[in-house]
Symmetry: C2
Subunit: 140 residues, 2 copies
DNA sequence: AAGATAAATGAAGCAAAATTGCATTTTTTT
DNA sequence: AAAAAAATGCAATTTTGCTTCATTTATCTT
């Protein structure tokens, strides 16, 4: 298992206590985290530092943004083979309308689509929303 | 051609000058509009009224939200057969990273995906991003 | 192991975006 | 034309995010 410290070094980021803390939260999370979630979990850290941390993690390929239709962008750990400015997170994201959580479905790839001529495609995102397993269970 | 007034009536909304104005902007738009776009186009209307108008239009099935990865949700006219709480906008949205505009690609349907067991799927969104035709042209 | 340097942090202040409650105005219905 | 219901506009507040700058910290070099 790769240590948090090693992950930071591998992505050419300085190892600071704050970054370690943030990264460990991501490692332990079962779902994608919004900036607001992290603020709570970290007990009201300096918000600007948090934003900057998220930004550099994203740029270096440690986390990726999971769009989910809410106005709050969520973040989750990248898969192993992401690098600086070269993400490979071509999986579907699931957004639960009950618990509001967003999950990476790494086993399901986003299908290709062909658009009318003229468009230059760079990236495709897919968000499936509905109810997650836990929430469906609770209803029964 | 259906008049703006008629569209409002059909969706059980009272006909007010403000709503007519907003709806006509949507009819004339070539791409999805963010709340901020509308504020400009309407020359700084009361922002709250605008938000409420968008909300009721969406609820009644006149417009739909086009997620595009920016934090600003965009809105566009629904296709003809949308009704209250019963949208049918299963098309792909395209977000141009140059001009920042978001387009409904009504000719391209979102492919179905199957998720691991346990999820209850309600809706699927697909956002393709890259450069739109106009922006690609400009570069040549 | 200590100092140099480059990067990260935290504080203060600001700007924009969104929400709430309430009083007023307008639309629709009778 | 009046009554009822809905929509609007204002004020105040909250949340979110950005910029600048001084200080602190991690890393690299010797």
């Amino acid at each position: 298992m790769v240590s948090t410290t090693q992950i930071l070094k591998d992505h050419k980021l300085r190892v600071t206590p704050f970054r370690i803390e943030v990264l460990e939260l991501f490692s332990g999370a079962q779902h994608a985290l919004a900036a607001a979630d992290l603020e709570t979990l970290l007990n009201n850290p300096d918000r600007i530092t948090l934003y900057r941390t998220l930004k550099s993690f994203e740029e270096k390929g440690i986390i990726h943004k999971a769009i989910d239709g809410t106005n709050q962008p969520k973040f989750a750990l990248c898969e192993a083979h992401c690098h600086e400015h070269n993400h490979h997170d071509e999986h579907v994201h699931f957004h639960c309308i009950k618990c509001e959580n967003t999950f990476c479905i790494e086993s399901v790839f986003i299908p290709e689509v062909s658009l009318p001529q003229g468009f230059r495609i760079k990236q495709t995102d897919m968000i499936v929303s509905g109810e997650c397993e836990q929430c469906v269970m609770k209803e029964l």
